[in-house]
């Protein structure tokens, strides 16, 4: 009886680990989708309304898709340090510390690089930069979705299978 219970526990635990992997793949896609959507909103605010960065960040920290609000909130909090630090550094730190977005290194670099243009150039140049970042993010989203498609079943299978394997060995 105890053996059966232990086996069930092991299989459940490894199964949950597999599901966590599945959830992470989905979350990553949602974050990239959120970034793309928020960049579109950012472009509109900057180009159509000429809104100052503080206002843009305030709006995005309230109205951007939930998974990415933290990024904009952190950047907004950093705005108080303008004068001590450059906006590029504030934005870079906000990107770096937004680990919940689960971005890969190249995606983080791309987003960090956006800080070089934000608020520094005229509307047209900023619009071009934001569009370029968005297009590349769309490419990353396609890749993330392909990974999700491919790895979802694999994760679930390996989760359960590794549990069964462990049970067989232990028994």
């Amino acid at each position: 009886m105890l053996r059966a219970l232990g086996a069930a526990l092991i299989i459940t635990a490894t199964g949950l680990m597999g599901l966590r992997g599945v959830w992470r793949l989905r979350w990553r896609c949602r974050c990239i989708e959120g970034l793309i959507e928020s960049l579109q909103l950012m472009e509109l605010e900057i180009c159509s309304r000429l809104a100052p960065m503080r206002e843009v960040l305030e709006k995005l920290s309230r109205e951007a898709p939930k998974p990415v609000r933290g990024l904009y909130r952190r950047a907004l909090e950093g705005m108080g340090e303008i004068g001590r630090r450059s906006f590029f550094s504030i934005w870079g730190d906000a990107v770096e510390s937004s680990r919940e977005l689960m971005l890969r290194e190249e995606e983080t670099e791309l987003l960090r690089g956006l800080g070089l243009a934000l608020g520094r150039y005229d509307v047209r140049d900023q619009a071009e930069t934001i569009s370029r970042v968005r297009r590349r993010m769309e490419g990353y989203l396609m890749r993330a979705e392909a990974e999700r498609e491919r790895d979802t079943k694999l994760n679930a299978f390996f989760g359960v299978a590794s549990g069964i394997f462990a049970v067989i060995i232990l028994l």
Partner: protein, 304 residues
């Protein structure tokens, strides 16, 4: 807050526009100098300096760098050059608190005009201060029997036209014990009178004043006339025939006018065709001439 405290606070407010590494240097200024300082000046390769009534004084020995001035621009625009690009093309930035920063350096041209700056090498932070109550000295003669007479303020540059205009706008809008409050519309093309920041005037222009900032004066007068139903329209510096034409139209609609003009006096203006036409059509009934007598401002009111 005493007048002296207010003047020092305005100076300290201007210091917050400086990058952090430059702020320390300003501490060596005495309170009396902070009270009187008119500008802070940054020039690449030279130390930061303060413009005092006695002249310019360098603060410290450390030289200002290009990076310092770029940083200053970032602070003044709130890291949003795009929001201030029109002003930057004109060579200045309006900042929170009603401060104005003049810029110099290398510009690039675009479509026949200035497109922007390649690099900023010079900056002057102008420390503007309100002088509440200056209008009191002239108000009585501009409002006989509670009627405001259309008025032109005449003075050479830097003599205090904008200061008097701002205080007159505030007083007319607020009213006094003997004067009923009026709806005032302010066409503030260069943003010097109300100094709007984040949608709010940084200087007190009165509770019944509507401000249209950044719009060419002639257009602004017509827009305000159509949309805000003003009793008085105020504008800074009539410089173009279009401004004069818009003023005439406003007068024909029964609106009172309050404006400023560069000049030494009434005779000086009547020699210029732009103003002669305005005087001939009796657009203004009063003019206030500001004179500097031994460092003190004197206000002379005359009928036009």
């Amino acid at each position: 807050m005493t007048e002296s405290d207010y003047r020092v606070a305005r100076f300290d407010g201007a210091v917050t526009l400086l990058p952090f590494n430059l702020r320390e240097r300003v501490r060596e200024l005495l309170r009396a100098d902070r009270e009187e300082a008119e500008e802070l000046r940054l020039r690449v390769g030279r130390p930061l300096s303060a413009v005092l009534p006695a002249g310019e004084r360098e603060l410290g020995r450390e030289k200002v760098t290009l990076r310092d001035i770029s940083h200053l621009v970032e602070i003044c625009t709130g890291a949003s050059v795009h929001s201030s690009s029109e002003e930057i093309r004109e060579g200045y930035i309006s900042c929170r608190g009603g401060y104005r920063v003049g810029l110099g350096g290398s510009v690039y041209l675009c479509e026949g005009g200035v497109g922007g700056f390649h690099c900023y090498s010079y900056a002057a932070i102008r420390i503007s201060r309100e002088r509440r109550g200056v209008a009191e000295t002239v108000l009585g003669r501009l409002t006989p029997g509670d009627k405001f007479c259309s008025t032109l303020i005449i003075a050479p540059p830097g003599a205090g036209k904008t200061t008097l205009l701002r205080d007159l706008v505030r007083t007319l809008s607020q009213g006094t014990r003997t004067l009923r409050p009026r709806r005032v519309s302010l066409a503030d093309e260069r943003g010097e009178v109300a100094a709007m920041w984040a949608g709010q005037p940084q200087f007190d222009v009165g509770p019944r004043t509507d401000v249209l900032e950044g719009c060419p004066k002639a257009q602004a007068v017509m827009m305000l006339l159509r949309s805000m139903n003003p009793e008085v329209i105020a504008l800074d510096e009539i410089t173009a025939p279009e401004d004069a034409e818009a003023i005439r139209r406003a007068q024909n609609c029964g609106v009172r006018l309050l404006a400023t003009a560069h000049g030494e006096g009434l005779e000086d203006l009547t020699r210029r065709p732009l103003y002669r036409g305005l005087f001939e059509s009796h657009v203004f009934q009063r003019c206030v001439i500001i004179k500097n007598a031994q460092g003190r401002r004197e206000y002379e009111v005359a009928s036009c």
